[in-house]
């Protein structure tokens, strides 16, 4: 997320380094959880009100594969837009 980390400080302390790694971990976790929520909803839950079957069928599997690809592509696209907005002085999402 280069639009956020502008200038890096020269020699971060241990706590700072750990905080950066924590942030990376929480970011990946968050994006993964959201992607899973959206893709399960779009590919599996809409047609499974009663869960008669535990296995993923062919249609669900293919849908999940594409959904992951599209979710990450959406994330890349929005990141680009965010960087553009950031350059135009908009700041980070109004806060």
């Amino acid at each position: 997320m280069s639009f956020i980390f502008g200038g890096q400080r020269p020699q971060p302390s241990k706590d700072e380094k750990f905080a950066m790694l924590d942030m990376e971990f929480e970011t990946s976790t968050d994006i993964f959880t959201r992607m899973m929520g959206s893709c399960m909803k779009k590919c599996v839950l809409q047609n499974n009100k009663n869960f008669v079957e535990g296995e993923l069928n062919k249609g669900e599997s293919v849908c999940l594969d594409r959904c992951v690809a599209k979710f990450l592509a959406s994330q890349q696209l929005m990141q680009k837009k965010m960087e553009e907005a950031s350059k135009n002085g908009g700041g980070m999402m109004g806060m």
Partner: protein, 91 residues
């Protein structure tokens, strides 16, 4: 809730901590936004690349949220200033 008094050294240290927290919050807000725009804009899973209509929708959605968020943040700060001046306290 009264804000605690900080020494100057503590202020500086807290400043840095705040910066990190703000970055963290911005990142999580961004990932929420991604999901909020993905769900209404991407509904076709017969392909694994985004169509031009989907891309346009995601872009407009981003702008709409960006503009909405900016406006809400302004009003939030104005309203909070009024509430605090009325002595009703913050949160």
């Amino acid at each position: 809730m009264n804000a605690p008094n900080l020494t100057q050294a503590e202020q500086q240290e807290y400043q840095q901590r705040m910066e990190r927290k703000s970055i963290q919050m911005a990142i999580l807000q961004f990932s929420r936004l991604t999901q909020q725009c993905f769900e209404p804009c991407v509904e076709d899973f017969t392909s694994k690349t985004l169509g031009s209509r989907e891309e346009a929708c995601l872009t407009k959605c981003f702008e709409k949220f960006h503009n909405g968020q900016t406006r809400i943040a302004q009003r939030f700060q104005e309203n909070m200033a009024v509430i605090t001046n009325n002595g009703q306290g913050g949160f």
